[in-house]
Amino acid sequence: MAIFQPMFSRYSYSDQNLMLTLIRPGVEGHIFGTDNLGRDLFVRVWVGARISLLIGITGALIELVIGIIYGGISGYKGGNVDNIMMRIVDVLYVIPDIVMMILLIMVIGPGLLTVIIVISALHWLPMARIVRGQILQVKEQEFVLAARTLGASHTRIIARHLIPNVIGPIIVRLTFSIPGAIFLEAFLSFIGMGVPQPLASWGTLAAAGQTQLIAHPHLLLFPSIAISLAMLSFNMLGDGLRDALDPGLRK
């Protein structure tokens, strides 16, 4: 729906109408009302969904790919390779998030891409740790030894035995990190390092609404509801996927 938004409404996300600023929801065909520049909030929430989901999903995908490759190699190889790779993660981990964000933004300059890079740069660390922990645990299990006894190649062991057995916790982690990414983006926008105007994300909308909370609560309310609903659906999706992937729970 977020993709097809422009067809639904006669207003566009950047159209300003200074005559109709800050109107209440439901008036003049503005279902969610307008903001302080007279932009239609309904449309802006839908457009915000695009940016927020884009950030959330690409961030999560990048995190997933890097996390699985890095954590997977570390856990599967074990020994010294594992030691060195995990020490690097530890070092990156102790750098405070905010310092890392500001550094990255200074180096690449603000923008949509930067936000995605910042989010992935922060989120792949815990993902790599989770993947490594899972792989370490599973690779010593007797069914993996059994596969090796049968002469299975590394590719076969990874694809048929390790990944199917570590995917559950990874998906759970992902369903947390998509809303996490949406939040982080909101935070970045709030401190002025997010997506630039007139682009809107749920984060920027909520941040803008927060300044006029007392007089015009709808400005904060609708973006917040959107964020909450998105988080709820991602969590439910995660639960569903995990159950579907677990033959123990499948009927």
């Binding site: 007797e142 069914f143 030894l145 059994a146 006894t149 049968l150 299975a152 992937l245 033959p247 123990g248």
Partner: protein
Amino acid sequence: MNKNKKVIEVKNLKKYFNVGPGLTLKAVDDLNFYIYEGETLGLVGESGCGKSTTGRTMIRLYDATAGEVLFEGKDVHKMSRAEHKDFTRHAQMIFQDPYASLNPRMTVGDIIGEGIDIHRIMGGKERMERIYNLLETVGLNREHASRFPHEFSGGQRQRIGIARALAIEPKFIVCDEPISALDVSIQAQVVNLLIELQRDMKLTYLFIAHDLSMVKHISDRVAVMYLGTMVELASSTELYDKPLHPYTQALLSAIPIPDPNIERSRQRVLLEGDVPSPINPSAGCRFKGRCRYAKDVCHQQMPELREVGPDHFVACHIV
């Protein structure tokens, strides 16, 4: 049993684990033995004495620290990639824990068929037929092929593990405590299944266990391990009738005898103290601390395994 052909021969095999700076865990320390074609060699010892490590090193799940394992004359640890892949068709393992040894995400059919797939032995209908046959051989039925492991009991899972090992028609199977996780009533069934299969398929077994009673039933010869070393090796009747090593005597006296008169009158040899740590063991015999006969020489020198009677080997200074 064919006494002219040794299927597998272990020479001075060592497996050490590095467990910290300057700490070496000697899980297997200088083992020598061989198994004849069609024979079952029992391997017994307390928990942690290195039985699984021995079995796993023999089929190259672990790299040996030193020594060699000869399978039909070829050193398993020096095989090329292709030779090793071929070796995996002939040597298999049945695992200790029936709950951990089956991949929960694969169907029973795919678990059993994995070896067939890896070695591209057959495909399609023929493969399924083979899987059904194997299921029936181990006492399950063909409908089970499409189920997942969690639907089965421990005994049934162990049968699935046996079917998986049999699928590629191996010559040699390491049975790593295949029954110790099962109920007593099911233990005998699984052991009898293994004995039947051995007879029908001319298999050679290394049968690992930590108690002597079941081993006697299935083994031709029995080897006793203590803290990574072999202390005694003899035919199972000889070992049970005339145990020579003080440790074997203690192990045997722990088995109750099903005759109340003998049971009451016989003397038990009790072991004192705990099993010492296999990390950086001190010189001399590993058993010295718990042995009532220990002399000076036992503290200085590791006893060698030597032949004291026909096919009866023991590693002890006292005997």
